[in-house]
Structures are given as structure tokens and as C-alpha cells.
Amino acid sequence: MTSRKEINISPTTRIEGYGKVTIWLDDSGNVSDAHFYATEIRGFDYFLRGMEADRLPFIISRICGVCSTAHVLASVKAIESIYNTQITETAKKLRKLLLMGQTISNHSLVYFFLTLPDFWFSPEEDPSRRNAFQIMREKPEVGKKAIALRSFGTHIMDVIGKREVHIVSVIPGGLINPLKEREREQLLNEAENACEIVKEALTSSKELFERNWQDFVRFGQRKTCYMALTREETLEMYDGRINVIDANGRKLADFADSEYMEHIEEKTSEWTYAKFAFLRSNGRSDGIVQVGPTAHMNINRKATTETANRELKEFKSKFGNPAHVTLLLDYARLIDLMYACEEAKELLEDKELTRTDTRVEVKSRGGKAVGVVEAPRGTLAHEYVLTSNGHLKYIRLIIPTQINNAAINLSVKDAATEFIRDGEVKPGFLNRIEMVI
């Protein structure tokens, strides 16, 4: 492989996580292969073994600082499933609200800080200017809105989770602290404003999408299977069943948390530290699955909140069911964000939310279980095996990026093929490759 011409992009910029891209060209200068790979490894699934389960949720959140709350929630769900613990309705509502906070803070970060610059500036723009900080300098009010929206998400995590990043209040059995009435009112105030900001962002992004649609299609589409948590085809992030559809929209599977590992398999590769996860029944090349916002749109038929429901239906009628164009992800993410804000508002309007029964006693015992939630980037699963005295014996985590890994790699190759012909690299190419990641 080394004798052929290589194009390296390192480090990849404006994506979450750190990686590199290598594109190989054949003798005539056309793309022969492309890899996007993770250059980092920490070994969580190895060094946590032996730890007592109670300590797991808040330590395992360190896997990802931008989606830590989702990890905590998947973790306690798995542990509670092993302990056979039923948490109270109040605890469940508060956890849902936390997950909405997570979704809001993460999606708003990705939208305003990572992807908005791609649409705001042309890909040929001077790379030193093509970033969120430049947008904030040019239009401070956009920066203010971005911060206000993200703050709503982080305040939810701070008020209920007791820390903004790496929350501590969620424990096996529920939550340590109930929500105070004063806190509920304060968050509810912020919720109204957040909904308005997202509505505006949706309107302006829709215009952008319509204007650039032809260009976006050129970035490629990858017809794969899609997977998401759902409650009877209604958008759901905390508690539901996992559905998988094929590239034509046909339902392939419908299963509970506990059956997750029977359906999804993971394998390592020789060229990246990241593992690949795929649909077991279809094999590694036919079982490529995508998760995340686009998958939410493709799996679900409706949403429980008003605007999100309308937008979801519009999305489906406009872009097909399932929708495959890679860059639709950014559009779908805004609909996710809309849902998260509206759902958070509805949860906060519920006076029962401040009930004090947030915690039940747990009885530790051994066993094996999987906890699944929808993290901002897609379906997240934690599988634990605990010994009879409640210590971790085995752990397996399937994170959204692992599932999307295969599709990302194919998209990189597609986009590279589109922008490199006969050894000639079109301007703005680097940024375009990164846009599909």
C-alpha cells in the first residue's frame, strides 16, 4: 500500500474525537481506498474490571466528556437491570430530562461550533476564518443564541446532575436529590427561550439546505441499515425498544435492551483502534448500520411534541423514507434538538417532577445485562457482567461511533472519489472530506 500515492489529513478538524484520514490513489491518480481512523485508545473496557458496580456510572462517564450523561444513564440502566430494580416514575422523568439536557448541550455544540461554519462560509474560504469564533465576531447575536441554548442543556445537567460535565446525582436506584420547585421554575423559564432559538435555527437552516441541496447530494449517500431506540415508532431516547430497518425501509428487527448483543456484533481491524459494530444477521459488509439523528428520522413516524412532530413528517416526505443523503444528518440533528427542547419543556411543566421519591433501595447481585439509551450520536449500549458480590467481571460497550464507523469510512471514500479525478485535487477538498465525517 505504501508505494501508491497517499493523501493524509491529520488531524481531522471540527469533528468530535481525534482522528486521521488517509486516501490512497492508484497509478492514474484516482481514489483506490480511504480510511478514517482513530489514533487514540484508553482501554476502559479493560482496566475497569474488578471495580464495584456502584462506582461504575460516574467513572465510566469519563469515556466521553461531551456525552457523559448518556454514558451514566446507559450504565445505571444496565446495573438496575441486573439488580432487578424498578425506579420510581419521578426518577425516570428526571433522568429523561437529564438526557434531554445532554442532547441539547451536545447538539447545540455540534451545530453552532462544528457544522455551522461549513454552511456559513464556502468550503473554499480561508481556513483560518472558517470557524465558529469568526461567526461570533461577525455576528455576536448568533454567538449569544448559541451560548443561551447550550446553557439551557448544561443548566439541566448542573441542577439535576449536580455537575455540568460528569454528573454525580444519578445512581443505581434513582437519583440522590429531588428537584426543588424553585429550580423547576427557573429551568422552565429557560426552556421557552431555547425552543424559540431552535425554531429560528430550523427556519434558516432549511433555507440553506434548499439552496445548497444539489451540492449536498454530491457528497454522497450511503444506503445502509438504520437503527434507533423507539417507542412504537415514536421518537424516544431513554426507554423503548430498538428497531432496525434496511436500506429500503423494511423492518429487520425489533428487540429489547437485553437482546442487543444478539443482534449487534463488533470486530477489531488492523488499521484503527476503533472497533466496528454491525448487524450480526447480515454480516460485516451487508450489516452496516447507521445510528444518530438521521436514523431517528428513518425509524420513527412521529414525535410526541408539536413542532418536532411536524418537522419530522416534513423531513420524511421531502427526503424519502429512509433518507440516505449523508449531509442530511445536520438537518435531522436540528429536529432532534427541537424535540429535546420541547420535551424538556413538557417535562418541566409537570408539577409532579419535584416529588421527593427519587430513590429506591437496591440489592446488589450478580448477573448480566445491557443498558441502552439514545446518546447524541446514536444508540449507546453498555453490557456488564457482575459477580455475585457486585463487582465488574466483564464489560462491553458499543458506542454510536463504532456503529457509524463503517458508513463514515465509505462516505469518506465516496466524497474523495467525487473530488479527486486523475490526480487533480479540487479546491476545498480537505474541508469537504471532513464535512462527511
Binding site: 486521521k20 466521553c64 466528556g65 483560518s128 469564533f133 447550550r150 477489531t268 481491524s269 488492523e270
Partner: protein, 287 residues
Amino acid sequence: MKVSIVSLTCCAGCISSFLNAGDALLEILSQHFDIVYSPTFVDLKEVQSLDLAIVEGGVRTSEDERLIKEVRAKSRVLVALGLCATHGGITSLGNLVSAKKFLEKEHSLLASSKLPELKDLMYPLCSFVDVDYYIPGCPPMPLLIIHSLKSIVSGKAPVRHQSVVCTECHRKIVPAKLDHLYGIYEKESDPTLCLVSQGFVCLGSLTREGCGAPCPRAGFTCFGCRGPADSLLYRSRDMYAFLVKVISARTAIPEEKVKEELYRNPFIFHTFIFSGSDRFRARERII
């Protein structure tokens, strides 16, 4: 001021925390910072010459080592942000097992020359380069980060936090009479009394203040994410023996018994794993 935000091996939680500073963030970004290198936010691929480098994450791979050395060489001031950068952090738990064994077991297919090599341990930045300021925390609180950076930007030394978390905790220390220690969630805690007095292993008495004690305030034991306080940074200070003494004094459980119960759980001290043994140096630079 030319600034870079660099991430080595980490979870990106510290930069996340920095971005949570709200209006104070907008102010510092619009008035003081010109961010010229930050793979997460800015498209420039080359490290330029810098006034200030903010580095999160520790050194786990050969690539981390190369990058931190390059950043150091080009920066006037280098700030280690977060526990991974200052002490090694959570990834240091991997130091307890062999990296080679781990790779053999989990990634037996790995054969790419393009991947950076894994180092034997997770190292804090100071094992490889000189660090001007350390802001420990997992992650440090947004305002702590912003206040420290603002001081640095204006050429002043940031306010240091030297004492322990207990000074920021509202809970009342009372001598209790217990016969054993409790697991972190084994019973519901009294909201007004010191968690150690109630038999929980709270590390507040070892840990540097500056966070505002959010965890013990919420009824959750401090797990030491700000690293050791000044008083524990002397070579002669045995942190472990100190904690045993504190717990024993507040619970009336004999020291021997406390030791025995603590020994059973190496994970209690995960934030206090030091690789590179630089913990005694440069006390006055820890914020």
C-alpha cells in the same frame, strides 16, 4: 493573543467545561483570544507560534508526545487543563495493567504502521515538558477555568487554591461512633453532617479546593478530582495514612480496620494515581 486549544488522550470534558462558561466565555473569546490552532474548532492543521496553549488530556501515545513537545516549543505560556493533563487522570487506571497485554487481547489484528505507538503508561504533561500552570479537575469548573485564564491573559498570576475541599463544604464535622464504613450509596446520607462522620469514604480532606464542593454538597462523596492539596505535596506526607487517620478520628473505627476496608478497593483512589512522579514539583503553579 494567539491561543491554541490542544487535546491529547482524553474525553474532551475539560474543553466542554470551558465552553460551559456562558457569557464569560463570549467575553474572553471576543476580547482576548484569537484561536489559531484547535483541531476541534478551527481548520488550521499546523501549530503556529503561540502566546498561550491550553492543553487537555495526557500523553498515552507517541503522537501525544510529539504534539506536546511541538506545542511547548512554540508557546510562551502552557496551561495543563484537567486531571489527565495535570496528573494522568482516569486513563492512569490503565497503568495497573500491561498495555501490551491489553492490545494483544483486545486488538490482536492491529498491524498498521500509521497508528501511533502506545506508551507503557499514561503520563501527565509534566513528564515530557515544562508546564506553566496546572488547573486540575475532572473537569475543572467553568468559572475556575475562565478566571484563571483571564488572569493569565492579563499577565497576572492566577488565584491559587491551596486548601482542601472541606473548606468549601457546608457539612458539619462531628465525631461519630460507627463500627464499619459504608459503600457510596449503601445508605441515604444526612444532608447536614460530614460524609466521613457518616461512614462514607469521602476524599474531601485530601483534595484541593476550588471546585465549590459540588459533589459532597449533593450528597455524593468527593472522589478527589482536583488532586492533592498543597499540604499533601510534601515528599514526607503519606496521603493514604493521612486519610486513614481522618476517617478513624471522625468515625471512631480503629485505624487498622479502616485500612483493611480501604485496601479492599483500589478504585477509590483512581484520581490519585501518579505516573511520572512529578507530584512534588512546582507546587506554586497549581491553581
